[in-house]
């Protein structure tokens, strides 16, 4: 027998669906508006006639952006920073986490504290800035003139990610490791043939965390990369926003499309690649939040 829906249950259901729908649409709306505004005519955008759907559809804002070399430059710089930065950080983190996961490591407690302390206390912006300047001069003196490498190597390491990896490695059964050692595997083979394949999902999650922080990185990239041609996408978007919302700049604007459309087009173009890979990474992204409860 099917239970009758109680009145309180019914009310709660109606409220849930209504508020969820409102919230979900509220989350979606700014994106829809950005897409519509990026492809609407100048008058429609400037006088608020675009509300949901595009009006006087044209793609001049996108055309202008795609013809801009700086845009493609920024995109390739972001790819550079994301790919090399992730490889570097992941490599360092996997090696370190593997060593830390071994009970036989001497001073293990101290090394763990060494990492965890950086999650509790950060020196702050000014000391970090001075430190990066010093790093920069050291890099320059050994012949690395490219600021991009400074950002790749010096920034974006996170103690939390190492600890996530360490915990995953600790969960690998020691019998498997011993079996590999009996078969004559070296330390490095044990890591690459046993531990890495057995902690694939955590490694995927951590890779994603590193990649996202690189892709999104803005502040230090803007501070430390002096050459405009080396700016990543986030810095490029921000500089354009500052330029295009300047009243003087806007007053001198005489294109057939609105200056706002360029910003919206930029926003759309920066989100689209992420939306394309989203279905593939969603699983790992969601997993990361559950890793909060970490034991030491």
């Amino acid at each position: 027998m099917k239970r009758k829906l109680e009145i309180s249950e019914l009310i709660f259901k109606v409220i849930s669906y209504t508020l969820l729908t409102v919230f979900a649409l509220g989350c979606l709306y700014p994106f829809v508006y950005a897409i519509s505004a990026s492809m609407s005519g100048r008058h429609a955008v400037e006088y608020g006639e675009v509300v949901l759907f595009p009006k006087d559809v044209q793609f001049n804002a996108f055309r202008q952006m795609f013809n801009d070399n700086m845009f493609w430059n920024a995109y390739s710089n972001t790819l550079f920073l994301t790919i090399y930065g992730t490889i570097w950080a992941l490599g360092v983190a996997i090696l370190g986490a593997y060593a830390l996961s071994k009970k036989r490591l001497l001073f293990r407690k101290f090394f763990n504290f060494y990492l965890v302390f950086t999650m509790w206390f950060a020196a702050g912006l000014v000391p970090q800035y001075l430190n990066y300047l010093a790093t920069k001069s050291v890099f320059n003196s050994i012949g690395i003139m490219d600021d991009k490498w400074l950002v790749v190597i010096a920034m974006g390491m996170a103690a939390m990610n190492i600890i996530l990896l360490r915990n995953a490695f600790e969960n690998v059964p020691s019998e498997i490791e011993e079996a590999a050692i009996v078969d004559g595997a070296t330390e490095f083979q044990v890591l690459s043939k046993v531990f890495i394949p057995m902690s694939k999902s955590t490694i995927a999650t951590v890779t994603l965390f590193f990649a996202i922080s690189r892709w999104n990185g803005y502040f230090w990239a803007r501070q430390m990369i002096s050459n405009q041609n080396e700016h990543p996408l986030q810095v490029f978007i921000r500089l354009r926003l500052e330029q295009y919302t300047d009243p003087e700049f806007m007053a001198g604007w005489n294109e057939v499309f609105a200056s706002d459309s360029v910003i919206y087009a930029l926003i759309v173009c920066s989100i689209v690649p992420i939306l394309i890979i989203y279905p593939f990474i969603q699983k790992y992204f969601a997993k990361g939040t559950n890793a909060g409860g970490v034991k030491e």
């Binding site: 109680e6 309180s8 249950e9 709660f12 849930s16 508020l19 969820l20 979900a24 989350c27 979606l28 994106f31 508006y33 950005a34 006088y47 675009v50 509300v51 360092v92 090696l95 370190g96 060593a99 036989r104 490591l105 965890v116 950086t118 999650m119 509790w120 206390f121 020196a123 702050g124 912006l125 000014v126 000391p127 970090q128 800035y129 001075l130 430190n131 010096a154 390491m157 103690a159 070296t186 330390e187 999104n216 803005y218 502040f219 501070q223 986030q234 810095v235 926003l241 009243p247 806007m250 200056s259 706002d260 989100i271 989203y278 969603q282 969601a286 559950n290 909060g292 970490v294 034991k295």
Partner: protein, 350 residues
């Protein structure tokens, strides 16, 4: 300390004679020559220690060396000399910041207050939202509908801070002679929530709106994503618990109160403690990207204060002193929160 005599001699059952216990000799050896033992172990396991070196160096260079630069907050700022050669200024910067009178200290206290308030309002408004969302997700029985809701609400989390703030800036931008105001300001003034003049001036130029925009954009950005952990706790509840409650005549509210809430309480407590622990660790990027000279009154936080005085200006000593105070209090809060979490739930956060 030496072991007992019996530890040194063991009886060999086959020959009936006593001989030296090799394990105890090793144990003794370790105690007597501790560093020799350390050296031997490291030589034997050298690959492990080599693997650790990159991590140690990365953290040494770019996490711990900056802490050495903190010495600058006790020394007279100098653009050319490194911190080790600067003259000592004692606690003068701290005094300037803490003791009233100067414009600097007024700005500093305002920044401290704003830092705390932005986090505190986030705790009041931003924290419950993911829990409510998770409860609502639980009401959606169809898997497809729920996935659609979840994907839509997670979506904003995939934007970078720059893109998110750009979008916010555009939605509430000021109107000018040549173009209208942002669509959101337009909507708010049409339904009468804000006056036309206020909307025309740009909400981000108005200090009264900064905190609201900061919180609402925060909820928009992360409420969906943050709900994952609570939703995971809710779906872990066994269906039999609900059935038992129904048989006992519990209506929906009573089920919420006596089944769902107790089951997710530990998750809520952990999240709440973490949140309280990081009350002073506010992300500077979002504030930096949203604030401007007009909104310093409500928007300026300690890290943006430090950025303005230390990175744009030349008051490096003052700026790092200000941030150091903030970060030390922040650290104490984190450690305190972690200790409480460990005591309360057996789960340590770090």
């Amino acid at each position: 300390m030496k072991g007992k005599a019996a530890d040194y001699l063991v009886l060999d059952p086959s020959s009936g004679t006593y001989h030296e216990n090799p394990e105890q000799v090793v144990r003794d050896d370790v105690e007597k020559h501790y560093w020799l033992h350390v050296g031997r172990t490291i030589v034997k396991d050298w690959r492990l220690y080599v693997m650790l070196i990159p991590t140690l160096l990365v953290f040494l260079f770019w996490r711990y060396l900056p802490m050495y630069e903190l010495l600058g907050s006790f020394k007279v700022s100098d653009e050319i000399k490194p911190v080790s050669q600067q003259l000592f200024a004692g606690f003068s910067y701290f005094k300037t910041l803490l003791v009233g009178g100067s414009g600097l200290s007024t700005d500093f206290w305002r920044a401290m207050r704003n830092t705390f308030l932005l986090s505190f309002y986030g705790l009041c408004f931003g924290f419950p939202m993911p829990i409510i969302l998770a409860l609502f997700f639980n009401e959606v029985r169809s898997n497809i509908a729920r996935s659609v809701y979840q994907v839509l609400t997670y979506l904003p989390k995939f934007m970078s801070t720059v893109v998110m703030t750009s979008l916010v800036t555009m939605l509430v931008k000021q109107g000018s002679l040549t173009s209208g105001m942002g669509i959101l300001s337009q909507f708010l003034s049409n339904i009468g929530l804000i006056s036309k003049d206020v909307a025309q001036g740009g909400l981000l130029n108005n200090p009264n709106f900064f905190r609201g925009i900061y919180q609402i954009s925060g909820i928009w950005e992360s409420a969906g994503y943050d709900s994952i952990v609570f939703f995971a706790a809710i779906i872990a509840i066994s269906p039999t618990s609900y059935e038992a409650a129904q048989i006992d005549g519990a209506n929906k509210m009573a089920q919420m109160r006596y089944v769902v809430l107790p089951s997710i309480l530990s998750t809520i407590v952990i999240m709440l403690i973490t949140r309280i622990g990081s009350l002073l660790n506010i992300g500077y990027e979002k504030v930096l990207l949203l604030y401007n000279t007009n909104t310093y009154v409500t928007a300026d936080v300690v890290s943006t204060f430090a950025q303005r005085y230390g990175l744009q200006g030349a008051a490096k000593g003052i700026a790092s002193a200000a941030e150091m105070m903030n970060n030390v209090i922040g650290m104490l809060l984190v450690i305190g929160a972690n200790t409480i979490a460990r005591k309360a739930t057996d789960v340590s956060l770090y």
